[in-house]
Every structure is written in C-alpha cells, then in structure tokens.
Amino acid sequence: MQTGLIFDIKRYAIHDGPGIRTTVFFKGCPFSCWWCHNPEGLEMAPQGLYSQERCISCGECVSICPNAALKISSQGVVTKQSLCQLCGTCAKVCPAEARELAGIYIGVENLMRIIEKDVIFYDESGGGATFSGGEPLMQADFLLELLKACGRRDIHRAIDTTGYADEDVLMAIARETELFLFDLKLMDSDKHKKYTGVSNRKILSNLELLARQGASITIRVPLLPGINDNDENIHTTGKFISKLPGIKHVDILPYHEAARYKYLKLRTNYSGEKMLPPSEEQLSRAAQRLKRFGLKVKIGG
C-alpha cells in the first residue's frame, strides 16, 4: 500500500476542474516560484508552522515536547530546529491552533475514504477529484495508485501540474487521468529558470507529448505583472498552445497576495514580497491576445 505526503484537502473546490470537486494538495515541488501561493507545499517533508498571532503562550507544547525542542520567549514559542523531530505532538495539544504541522503521510485507502465522502456531489455536478500541490507528479507512484483507485470507483480525475516529470511517468499517469490542468508560466527558458529555479524545456516537450497523445488539457497561466504579462510572452504562449492539437481552453489565474501570511508562519522569505496583482486592464489585455489564437480564455479557474 502506497503512502503519500499531502498538506491539505479542500472540499467543495469549484475552481479546479469541472463540477464540485475535492482537491488534494501533494507536498513537495521541484520549483521555487517567486510567487508561490502554497509555500507550505514546497518541501518534500512535514514542516512545523507557527503563528505568534494565535499563540496564547500557555506552554502546553513546551511541556509535552518529547525532544525538549521548544521554549517560550518574548517572540512566543521558539523551536530549536536541531532538536525538533517533526513528530507533531505539539500541534496535537496546542489549544489555540498556533502550532500546526503542514504535511501528513496518508495511505491510498484512507485518502479515498475522504474523497469518497463527496461522491454524490461529484455525481450530481459532474465533478470529481483534483490532485494538486506542490507538484503531484513528484509522488508519481502514490498518485498513480490513487488515480487507479478513483478510476475503479468512477470518480473523475484531474491533475493540476507543472508537467515536470519523466516522459514515461507522465504517460503512465495520463492513462489514468481525465483532465490535465497544465501550468504554463513563462515561455522564455532563461526567465523561467530565473523565476522558478528550473528550465521549461521538459515542461514544453511534455505538454506537446500529452497533447499529441490526445490528453484532455486546460492550460493555466498565472498572470504575474512584470514577469510574464508582457505582450511577447503572452504572444509566444498563445502561439505555442494554438499549435498543439486539441487544446482549446486557457485559464488566466491572476496573481494574488493571499499567501503572504503563510510565509510568516513558515518563517521563510517571500520572493514575491513586492509583486502586485494584475489590474483589470492587464487581465483583459492578456485575455484578448490569447483569444486571437482561437483559444477559449477564462479568467479564474
């Protein structure tokens, strides 16, 4: 039985594919995008989160920690990282939910039990399960088993991915997937590397491969002012997509600042600190340009 590492499950997810869905967020990502809105999904290991705002300094966590890694200070409760084993005991007892553990290991059947809770909603709405992240393809074996389990129960399967994986892995996954929500951030490889940490070569070739194999794909373009909203990038994006067989739908996802507080809780730096959300004009300009390529463009998921 495969076990995977996930950091969130969202029910009544209505912007991650058709119908009413349950979205499972896989932990671990090969990228490090400046604007990442799920920073707790980046690392391929559980992480402790701490919110000083919520902490009431009751000391429950300090006294229960089996590794004596915690102490109360003027900045609330501080963790000595070298001692912390990420056992999650502190999160379990914290009454104020100031200490949380991002990332739990879960088996396929246990996860299916949660996904199956809303089957009647999927049936009624043409929805299903969406696997997002992080990058779900990083846990391909777990993902594949999960997809097969959904398939056996007639649950529609979507994957929200950057497409960054080995070809054969991707093809195996594609056989068990009804819909790809495929992220396309930047067409220029150097810039892609600058802002995400990796080149986009593999991504683009995988996208082509998927399209040629007849996979059902919706392209998702996060619109990031100053990074990828320039006419040239949008034009290249549109041109590239329009040459792929069978792809009609593009969703533009406007950058938003909602993740800032998550960086605080993780105590990590936010490279997107100075980024601003796109204006209505910027959004519609990008949408118009993409539409010129005969694509069906939607703002939002």
């Binding site: 969202k10 029910r11 009544y12 997810a13 209505i14 912007h15 991650d16 119908g19 009413i20 009431i56 009751c58 429950e60 009454p95 104020a96 939910e97 809770k117 809303d118 009647i120 909603f121 009624e124 709405s125 929805g127 969703d251 533009i252 996802l253 406007p254 950058y255 938003h256 600042e257 909602a258 800032r260 507080y261 959300p277 703002i299 939002g300 998921g301």
Partner: protein, 786 residues
C-alpha cells in the same frame, strides 16, 4: 417597475408602522353590548361583521388591489381579546429601539380609559398566565421554552386553490346544506355544530359586506370629474369588489382581489401567527393568466403590475406588535407570509409555470421585506427555474429560500396525509410543513435544547437564577460515563416537554371555546363538513409542532464533554463546571481546547454527527405522536427563527466554548464557526439527520456575492442544492453576506470559520486570509452592494 409601482413602493417603504386602536374600540363596544347574548362562535362572527361594517376603509391613490386591515397602510390594529397591552407596553412599543410602533398619547389615554378596564383579566394572555402551574412559570421565565399562543392566535395558515373556484355565496350554500343535514337525534354535537355553521354563514356575509363598502367608496371616488384613466380604474375596482369575494373570480385581477379579501378577513378576525398565505400562488393564478392572454384582456406587463400592487399590499401589513418574550423570539415587522413557487401539482406533475418566473422577476425588482417567497424544488423541477431563482439569491436579499418538495411530501405521507393533499401542501412561515388549505398546523413554541443540558449539568438548577426549574438528576461530578450524563439530559427533556404540552393543550381548549375563527374556518377544508371550528379540530388535518432550537450547540457541547471529560480525560467535570459557571474567566486555554479540539457538528465527522443523531432521536421520542386536543398529534420541527438569540441570552457558557449570553446555533445549521470543511461537509452532516421525521428543518449557508458571480459558480450552487435534496434535506437558504458581517468577521474570526470567499481565481476561508486581503475583499464588496 413602472411609475405607479415606483410610487406605491416608495410610499410603502416610507410609511411608519403605527398602532391603530380602532379595532380595539369597536371590539370593546361590541363586547360590552353583546357578550353573553349569543353562543361564542356566533358572537365572534357578529363581532367580525360589526368590524366589517364600521372600520375605516381605505383606497389609496394608484392602488389596483384594495383593502387594508387598519385604517391606512402600515396601521396595525390591536387584539385585546388575545393580548390587552398595558400602558407600559404601549410606551415600550413606542420607544424601543427595534421594531417600534408609533402611537399617539391621546390613543394611549383612550386605551387606558376605555379598553384596558374592560379587558383586564379577560384577555387570552392573562387567562393563560393565570392558569399555568408554577413549574411552567419557572421554566418559561428561565427561557426553556416559549409559548406562541400567549400573544397571538394559532395560525400558520395557508390556502389551497378553493377560493379561485368558489365564492363566499357558494360556501354559504354548503353551510346551509350542512345546517339542514344536522342530525339532532343521533349527533350529540349537533347543537354545537349548528352554532358554528351559523357563525360561518354570518362571517361570509361580513366579508361580502366589507367588499361592497370598498365598491361604494371606489364609485364615490370615481364620481364627478371628467373621464380619466384613474376613473376607469376606480370603476373597475368597484366592479371587482362587487363580484369578489361573493363569487368565484373570473379573471386575473379579480383572482388577486379575491385572495386579498380572504387574507384581510382572516387577519382582521383574529391575529393568527404568520398572517395568511396564498400558498401556491403561481399555480392558482395560471388559469386566469392564460385565459387573459388568450382573450387579449391581459398582457405580461399588466399581470406584472397587478402582482406588484399585490406584493406592496403585503409590505403594508407589518406584524402586529409583540411584547415580552414573544418579541424576543420573533422581533421583526415581517409577518412571515411565504409564497411557494414551483412545486408539484396535485397529480404529481411539475408545478413551475410562466407566473412562477413572473413572480421571481417581481421579487428581484421590488426586493421588499414582505411577502417572503420560496422556490419549491422537486426532482421534476427544471434546472432553469432553480438557476433563475439562484440568480435572485445571489443579489443577497436572503430570498428566495429553497425547499425540497419531495422531502416535504414524504414528511406528510409519514404522518398519514393523502399523497394529493401532501403535494398540494408546502411550507409556510419559515419552513413549516403543512397541507395547504386543509390543515391547522400550529407552532406551539420553541424549545431551548442546550438549556436542558445546562439543567442536567446543574442537577436541575438554572445557574442564571439559582432556582430549581428542572428535575434533580444527580451531581454530574459523580457521573461515571457519558451515558449517565445523557440519561440525565433525557430526563430533563421529557419533563420539560411534558410540561409544555400540558399547558399547550389547555391553551388550545381556551381558544376553541372563547375565540373561535368562523371566517377562517369557511376556507379551510372540512370545517364546514365537520361543523367545527379551525381551532376545534374542524380541518382535515390537525398538527402541533414544537420547534427545537440549538441542535448545533447541544451536539458540540455534548461532544466536548464526551471527548475531553470522559474519553481523553484531559479535563475533570469539576474543572469544566467551574469554567462554565465563571464564563471561562481566566480559562482561555481550556476554552480554546474545547473550541479547537472537539469534533463539531457540520464537518461530516461521525464523532459529532452521531451525537446529533442521538439528540434528534431523543427529541423525536419526547415529542412525536403525543395527542393534541384536536384529534391530531405533536411533531417536532427544527426551526429557530430568531429565538436562538433569545435562548442564547438565557443560557450560561456552554461546553463547546460558547460564552454566556451568546446566541445558540440557528435552525439546524452548525454552530457559528464550527463547520470548517465547506458546504459539502455541512450538507453531509445535515443529511445524517432523518429530516423526514420532522415538520421542517432550516439550513443557513453563508456565501459572499463574489463567489456566485459567474454563471459557472451559480451552476455549482445549483448542484449543491440538488445534492442536498437528493439526501432528503428539507430546506436551504443562502446569506450572501454584506460588508458589515465581514467587518464583524474580521474582529471575531472564531465565529466565522466557515465564511467562504472568492479571493481571486479561487476560493478560501475569509478568516484564513491576512488582514490586507480581508480589507481588499471588504472594499470590493462595498462597491458591489446596491
């Protein structure tokens, strides 16, 4: 909205509710002269006739549908035979900050000199409160239950389609037949029936006379002057009033006027709860609408104008003033008329028609406080209708609410109604199930379920007053397990429910004997055939409901005690009781533990949901099937209206972390902020309640306007509703929240854990967002509001 409707709507908005003492004066005069001369039904009918002959009548400029309960719009009469307001009451009504009613000092003086001296000791309210046992008084004072009939008459009445097929003259014919057929030799009740039937006959005459007075007034207003469109209208109004309610209506305009006269008759005769309700108005009006279109005497715009005029008439009739506990359980001007759209027809086919859409359009344009409307959705209802309704919902007026007809039918079949009568039924007031036109289904009062647990935790003593109002069920510190605590709760429950029913049955007889409703009895099926009054078991079906409040609060509280005191044991009963008694003072960590580490109802978590099922089953066993005095039974109902606020005020801190005095959970909704897994989890939790065994449940869901902005999002809302209904949910309504709520959510995040907002391309929980994003959403919403 045309100019006429704009003017009428504005006038209705601007008119201030005020008290008219005209009815009280006429009633006092009449009683002083006639009390004791006639049988009670006949005397009540003669009084009704006296009112119809003498009350001031009113036809407003621009009006197409005529008739007012008071002397003019928003003037509300009093009903001293039910509640005789004291001078202090009238002064409070005049000055209280909410739901105020104007009254002049001169009228207060008249009340003091003429009305109060006669009715003192004679009003229903005083007679009830004088009679009730001490235990009842203690429990009532402690806020364990409310009593609907201490200020208003049993009502909650909705009509079926009979008044569009028969005029009052036809009913008079049936009454005459009934009188002629009485078997004085073999039926010991024949003499009583004769008095009741005579009273119904007089009541018909009274209503016809009332209409004729309007005809004469319209004629007078039309007389003289030269030809004008208004003159034509007034002449048409006069003709309408001469035809209905004496005869069955012949066209759309007459049909609406017919209903309105019947409506006015019932709310003038007595002050029944929830005013009166046309029920399936769209189905009733359809034949007249179609006929008018075919004959060319009506077009869509004209129909819309007439319906809009009708809508404004409802808005002109605020609820009669309530005082004391009743004002707290239901502090609103809204008098709860709930027009049902769509639904099923008697033969089981889909009831949606052109008039249903027309009415949705009117609701959207007028957005008035009254009348309330709901859409009745069955498996057969087209999605287009539900989607159109959802487009109105997303405007954020809080209506229409959405009902599951298939569940409503099953609820009625369960209690023995015929399938056809059940389909013709629906939901009135807030969410109450009934067979329209054929049933007296009476709300008797709310039950404060979390307070019963408080009694069990305090050995029968109300910690707020220190008085013993419940049973001695033992010291909870000595309870060995959860089941012992639960048994104590159940004992309190049965004790209090029995107390309530005992008094309710007494009140029912008081109403049957002293304030029968002969006019209402004419239009409710089988009252004529049975020769019995609406209050006396005359209707085909007779149901009493007890409305159980706070299922979320009680479930979460029991769940917290089960987990933290008995299962994990992290908290001793002693420590918990102390924390509750001191309102969690200096117990922040304990309170957060209870709030954050307890399985709560509304999360699709069986640990909590099985407790909800257990409590629900106990409520069902305590209430369902107990006989009332009218040949019917008590059933449970899961409505709270605004009583959860009053009950919360009467409740100390609770084990789910709720502070003393704070509201309880509303209807069957999860406690505020308890549901953290989104609407599908809420729906799944609710579906574990066997709702078919109730007479209605109420689920409130909060959404931000922006989450329903796109048609694709709306489609998902439609699917959410359909799924809830597949799972036998009875009702769902949506609060598309406003800025004020969001501001409150910012400062009190714990109460708003469940508030879903659309951030940008995705949705998230509002309280999980950082301040600046919250502010951005608040600003955005403010721009969107009208």
């Amino acid at each position: 909205m045309n100019e006429r409707i704009q003017r009428l709507r504005k006038a209705s908005f601007e008119a201030e509710p005020l008290i008219s003492i005209e009815r009280a004066i006429l009633e006092t005069e009449f009683y002083q002269e006639n009390f004791g001369k006639y049988s009670m039904p006949v005397m009540r009918a003669l009084f009704f006739k006296y009112l119809c002959e003498n009350k001031t009548i009113y036809i407003g400029e621009d009006e197409l549908i005529v008739g007012e309960r008071g002397p003019w719009p928003k003037a509300v009469p009093t009903y001293p035979e039910l509640t005789c307001h004291t001078v202090a009451d009238l002064k409070i009504l005049k000055t209280r900050p909410m739901t105020r009613y104007k009254i002049s000092e001169e009228d207060i003086k008249t009340y003091q000199e003429k009305i109060i001296p006669f009715w003192r000791g004679r009003s229903m309210r005083e007679r009830i409160l004088k009679h009730v046992p001490q235990q009842w008084k203690l429990a009532y004072k402690a806020g364990l239950f409310t009593e609907f009939m201490e200020q208003r008459a049993p009502g909650h009445t909705t009509l079926d389609g009979i008044i569009y097929q028969k005029g009052l003259l036809d009913f008079k014919g049936e009454i005459a037949k009934g009188l002629a057929g009485l078997d004085y030799q073999n039926d010991p009740e024949a003499a009583d029936k004769a008095e009741q039937l005579k009273a119904m006959d007089i009541a018909c005459d009274a209503a016809i006379l009332f209409a004729e007075r309007h005809a004469s007034l319209a004629d007078q207003m039309a007389a003289g002057g030269k030809h004008s469109p208004r003159k034509e209208e007034l002449l048409r109004i006069a003709a309408n009033c001469r035809w209905v309610p004496a005869h069955a209506p012949r066209d759309f305009w007459e049909a609406i006027q017919m209903y309105w006269f019947v409506h006015l008759g019932t709310i003038t005769e007595l002050n029944g709860w929830d005013a009166m309700n046309p029920g399936h108005l769209d189905q009733h009006l359809l034949p007249f609408y179609e006929k008018g279109l075919v004959e060319g005497t009506l077009d869509r715009e004209k129909a819309k104008e007439l319906l809009s005029c009708f809508w404004i008439k409802f808005n002109n009739h605020p609820a009669p003033p309530k005082v004391g506990v009743t004002a707290q359980e239901s502090g609103t001007y809204n008098d709860f008329t709930n027009i049902n759209l769509g639904g099923l027809k008697r033969d089981g086919s889909d009831g949606v028609n052109q008039v249903s859409y027309l009415i949705l359009e009117i609701m959207d344009e007028l957005h008035l406080l009254q009348p309330g409307s709901s859409v009745q959705i069955s498996d057969k209802t087209p999605d287009h209708f539900l989607k159109t309704a959802c487009r109105v919902i997303r405007k954020g007026y809080g209506y229409p609410s959405v009902f599951n007809v298939d569940a409503v039918v099953m609820e009625q079949i369960r209690v023995g109604k015929s399938i056809e009568d059940a389909r013709e039924g629906g939901c009135s007031g807030c969410i109450e199930t009934g067979a329209f036109g054929k049933e007296a289904y009476i709300l008797t009062g709310y039950l404060n379920v979390p307070k019963l647990l408080e009694l069990a935790l305090n050995n029968g003593v109300d910690p707020l007053s220190g008085e013993k109002v419940g049973l001695e069920t033992g010291d909870p510190r000595e309870f060995k397990d959860f089941e012992e605590l639960y048994a104590a709760f159940k004992k309190q429950l049965h004790y209090i429910v029995d107390l309530k029913i005992r008094v309710n049955n007494y009140i029912e007889r008081l109403f049957a004997l002293n304030v029968p409703a002969p006019f209402l009895s004419v239009v409710i099926r089988d009252c004529i055939a049975n020769g019995k009054d609406y209050h006396n078991g005359g209707p085909r079906y007779n149901t009493n409901y007890i409305q159980c409040c706070g299922i979320g609060t009680i479930t979460d509280s029991l769940s917290a005690i089960k987990k933290h005191v008995f299962e994990d044991p992290t908290v001793t009963m002693e420590k918990l009781l102390h924390a509750l008694a001191t309102n969690f003072e200096n117990q922040k960590a304990l309170r957060l533990l209870l709030q954050n580490k307890t399985p709560f109802f509304g999360n699709d978590d069986d640990a909590a949901d099985t407790i909800m099922q257990k409590v629900y089953q106990s409520l069902y066993e305590a209430i369902d099937g107990k006989p009332n005095t009218k040949g019917g039974e008590y059933h449970l109902n899961m409505l709270s209206t605004t009583c959860h606020v009053y009950f919360g005020r009467m409740l100390g801190a609770s084990a789910n972390g709720r502070l003393a005095g704070h509201p309880e959970s509303d209807g069957t909704s999860p406690s505020h902020g308890a549901d953290r897994n989104g609407p599908t989890a809420v729906v799944n939790s609710l579906s574990k309640m066997d709702q078919i065994k109730s007479g209605g449940t109420l689920l409130n869901q909060r959404f931000l306007p922006s989450i329903l902005e796109k048609d694709a999002d709306l489609e998902k809302l439609v699917r959410l509703i359909r799924t809830y209904f597949r799972l036998n949910g009875h009702h769902i309504q949506f609060n598309v929240v406003d800025t004020e709520t969001l501001r409150h959510a910012q400062t009190n995040p714990a109460e708003y854990r469940d508030l879903l907002v659309r951030v940008a391309g995705y949705s998230d929980y509002f309280v999980d967002l950082d301040q600046s994003i919250q502010q951005e959403i608040i600003d955005r919403t403010a721009h969107e509001s009208f």
